[in-house]
């Protein structure tokens, strides 16, 4: 497998731009949202304190988050720090499919954080993948908290988490918006 598949690099043509637009309302709103995000991100550029919240994960996402502090990835070199108390946290990494029994604790954790704050939904469960919404759980974190950044993966690797955190503070450009994941050329021999 090549490092990155050339054929999936989409261009900023109508299709993908249109894909990006369709989801988030009028242009003005989008511009205001970006402005606000830039302002928040600029405040956290050099030092960001992260608090994690497990709303029902299977423990694999937790292990990947713990590995961010391991020597191989060492998020301290990027000015990112873990902090136990939400009172001192700027960013909340939420894993798990938002189990309903956890709503009060999640709401309290979010409200204990001072503004401005960023919420990062981490892992396929938190993004609404693995589990549907039913009596046990909401199915995705955006049902209970206002999410700013989504990091897919089951579990997302520490590198994906790092990229997610840096995108959250606007120090890395977001890549996924431009990718179409639709290859048009014949990349594999078609069995007749």
């Amino acid at each position: 497998m090549t490092a990155s598949n050339p054929s999936i690099r989409g261009q900023r043509d109508g299709a993908s731009a249109q894909a990006a637009e369709s989801g988030s309302g009028t242009d003005a709103e989008q511009k205001a949202a970006d402005q606000l995000r830039q302002r928040i991100a600029s405040q956290f550029r050099r030092s960001l304190h992260i608090r994690t919240l497990d709303t029902g994960s299977c423990a694999a996402c937790e292990q990947e988050i713990r590995l961010l502090a391991a020597p191989h990835y060492d998020l301290h070199r990027l000015g990112l720090f873990f902090t136990p108390a939400p009172r001192h946290a700027d960013l909340l990494m939420v894993t798990g499919p938002a189990i309903r029994a956890f709503d009060v604790a999640a709401r309290k954790t979010y409200e204990a954080m001072p503004g401005p704050k960023i919420v990062v939904a981490t892992g396929a469960c938190a993004l609404g993948g693995v589990y549907p919404s039913d009596a046990f759980m909401h199915g995705s974190v955006s049902e209970i908290l206002p999410v700013d950044v989504w990091i897919p993966g089951c579990p997302p690797s520490p590198l994906a988490l790092l990229q997610g955190l840096l995108v959250a503070v606007d120090r890395l450009a977001e890549k996924v918006a431009d990718l179409t994941f639709a290859a048009d050329g014949p990349t594999v021999e078609v069995p007749e």
Binding site: P86, A105, K108, E111
Partner: protein, 671 residues
């Protein structure tokens, strides 16, 4: 108006108050009038005490008395002055407290009558000029206090507590009588100032024996450690103002007795007597606070704290006697002054705390700390006043406890001036014991204030306590006097130095107050501090930054969020420290003394390994009651059984006894 006339006024006031309330049979109006009179009389006593303090000893007045009993002589001495002033202050405070605390009724009438008579009796003890007056007054104080403690006989432990008090008081009284008899016999006079004058005639052995008898006798009343057992038994059952009076004043009479013998009647004795006194004081302080740490009942906790402070006072007197023995006259007088200052301080904030404990019990119906909690929201005024008292007794800077404790420590730290290394080291060891006591006192009073007043209410009574109708004036007056004793420390030290000057003949004033507001401990090259500047500075340090913050407050919109609790749904009252768990570290460190016993019931002990209700109880074994007093009591009972056959009811046998006694007396006479 010299001091004695003030004392007459006070005695008359109290007598009148007793009469009105007894005549009125405890009607509400009678109570209010009596308390007003009692307050006025208190003020008179305060004035008398202050003038006795300032102008020195007055002349000895013979106020009558009969041939049988002996002459009744009174004299306003300066040593007694500080105690009389404290008596006045306590009387005024209780007078302001009593009307709103007691319900009208015949029981209250009798109680207040007895209370006022007890005040007069205490004044008589302080103003006694000869042995007979002193002993008569002393015994009447004991009996009247016994009646005070028996205020509500219905309570289960009331009788037992009162009896503990009376029994130990009588034991002490016997020893005090022995001490006075020795002195009077050797100096052939009954008048105290004559005894003091001729004290050098008393041979050394008799003098020390008299002092030791006095120390033990007054120790019973003051609460030196092996003799302290009645305090935690009597205080909880007495009503609020009764126990305040007991702890604030009656216990101080014990200290007055020891000071009387050590500094006025007897000349400066050998060093070992001082060492013994200091040792008794240090041990009392340490063991007193250690037991206070693990008490759940508010009043027993305060009673043990009284024992601790008595220990501190007696340590100061002991150290003074040692310095006296080594001819360090400045330090001898200085430590007496420090001890007296601590007597005044402890009298004020301990009375305050007992009155507040009464208010808490009145508002919630219980004294058990584990059933209180969060009272600061329900009883705000009482909480603030109790906080002032707690800061005082925990000897924290802005308030008066710190000043007297600082003076005592400065005196103790100058042990090296005695010249003998052993004595120097022993004095510093006593200072270390007081240090340990000071630290544990702060720990104990954080618990004593924190558990009942802060946190969440643990029971329904604590939730529904109401401040309205609770007495506040009395304790407020004492709180103000605590602050005054701290800020006005140089003035107090000035007055005390004059009193100590008349008692010891050492002019301390220039030695203590070089500037007008700084205090130095008897020797310029040692240390200095100014309580006034300290109090003002501390207040400024807290108030000024708040003002700056309020003035320049950033206008950012602030969000109030709940305390971070790990996302748990609700905080329950069971999730906060309880009295015994807060003091658990001491139970582990000093388990040799406490020998704690634990009883534990856990649902998870059930072989089915389930989790559920947990019940954990821990008790501290009362070492002295169990291993010292119970054997003595059993021995006495055994003796009583032994002797019972004598009383066989047969008249001839009784006649034979009389006959045998006459023969015996005759033979003894012949020797």
């Amino acid at each position: 108006m010299n001091a004695l006339t003030w004392f007459y006024l006070a005695a008359a006031g109290w007598g009148l108050a007793a009469a009105t309330v007894l005549a009125g049979r405890g009607a509400q109006l009678a109570i209010r009038v009596a308390c007003a009179l009692s307050g006025l009389a208190g003020a008179a006593a305060l004035a008398g005490g202050a003038s006795a303090l300032w102008w020195g000893d007055s002349r000895v007045i013979t106020a009558g008395g009969s041939v049988v009993v002996g002459t009744l002589q009174l004299q306003a001495t300066s040593l007694g002055g500080i105690f009389a002033a404290l008596l006045g202050l306590v009387a005024v405070a209780i007078a302001a407290f009593a009307p709103r605390y007691h319900q009208a009724g015949p029981g209250t009438g009798i109680y207040l009558g007895v209370f006022n008579l007890a005040l007069a009796a205490c004044l008589a003890v302080l103003a006694a000029a000869n042995v007979v007056t002193f002993l008569v007054a002393w015994e009447s104080v004991a009996l009247l206090c016994y009646l005070l403690i028996l205020r509500n006989p219905g309570r289960p432990e009331a009788a037992a507590g009162a009896f503990w008090f009376l029994a130990l008081s009588e034991a002490g009284f016997v020893l005090v009588v022995a001490a006075f008899v020795i002195l009077a016999a050797k100096t052939h006079t009954m008048q105290l100032d004559l005894i003091a004058a001729r004290a050098h005639l008393v041979p050394a052995g008799w003098r020390d024996a008299a002092y030791l008898l006095a120390l033990t006798g007054f120790g019973f009343k003051a609460g030196l450690v092996p003799l302290h057992v009645w305090l935690p038994e009597a205080h909880p059952v007495a009503p609020a103002d009764g126990s305040a009076f007991l702890s604030g004043l009656v216990v101080k009479l014990g200290a007055y007795g020891i000071a009387l013998f050590a500094f006025r009647l007897l000349p400066v004795g050998p060093a070992w007597v001082g060492l013994l006194t200091m040792a008794a004081g240090a041990v009392t302080a340490a063991i007193g606070i250690l037991y206070a740490m693990n008490e759940r009942d508010l009043k027993r906790f305060l009673a043990y704290s009284t024992i601790e402070n008595t220990g501190i006072i007696v340590t100061a007197f002991g150290a003074a006697m040692i310095f006296g023995a080594y001819r360090q006259r400045a330090l001898w007088a200085f430590l007496l002054l420090a001890g007296l200052y601590h007597v005044a301080n402890h009298g004020t904030y301990k009375t305050l705390l007992f009155l507040e404990a009464g208010v808490v019990e009145h508002a919630t119906g219980t004294r058990d700390m584990d059933r209180l909690g969060g009272l600061i929201h329900r009883l705000p005024r009482s909480a603030v006043i109790t906080l002032v008292g707690t800061l005082g007794i925990a000897t924290l800077p802005p308030l008066n406890g710190f000043v007297s404790e600082w003076l005592i420590f400065q005196g103790l730290f100058q042990g090296f001036r005695t010249g003998s290394h052993l004595i120097g080291i022993l004095i510093v060891v006593a200072a270390a014991a007081l240090g340990l006591t000071g630290g544990l006192a702060i720990y104990a009073f954080v618990r004593g204030f924190g558990i009942p007043f802060l946190g969440m209410p643990r029971t329904r009574q604590a939730r529904e306590a109401a401040e309205h109708g609770q007495p506040v004036a009395g304790p407020a007056l004492l709180a103000v006097s605590c602050a005054a004793l701290a800020v006005g420390a140089p003035l107090v030290i000035l007055a005390l130095s004059r009193a100590v000057g008349t008692v010891t003949g050492v002019a301390l004033r220039p030695v203590l107050l070089p500037g007008n507001l700084t205090v130095i401990p008897a020797h310029t090259d040692f240390s200095a501090f100014s309580p006034t500047y300290l109090a003002v500075f501390l207040v400024a340090v807290t108030v000024v930054p708040v003002l700056i913050y309020l003035a320049g407050r950033p206008r950012a919109d602030s969000v109030t969020a709940s305390v971070w609790d790990g996302g748990m749904v609700t905080f329950k009252p069971r999730m906060q420290y309880s009295a015994m768990t807060f003091s658990a570290p001491t139970r582990v460190t000093f388990d040799a003394l406490y020998r704690p016993s634990v009883s534990l019931h856990r649902a998870s002990d059930d072989p089915a390994g389930r989790s559920g209700p947990v019940h954990y109880e821990t008790e501290v074994t009362p070492v002295f009651e169990r291993y010292l007093y119970r054997p003595v009591i059993r021995a006495v009972e055994w003796l009583a059984d032994l002797v019972r056959p004598i009383q066989s009811g047969d008249v001839n046998l009784y006649l034979f006894y009389v006959f045998a006694m006459i023969i015996l007396a005759y033979l003894l006479g012949a020797l």
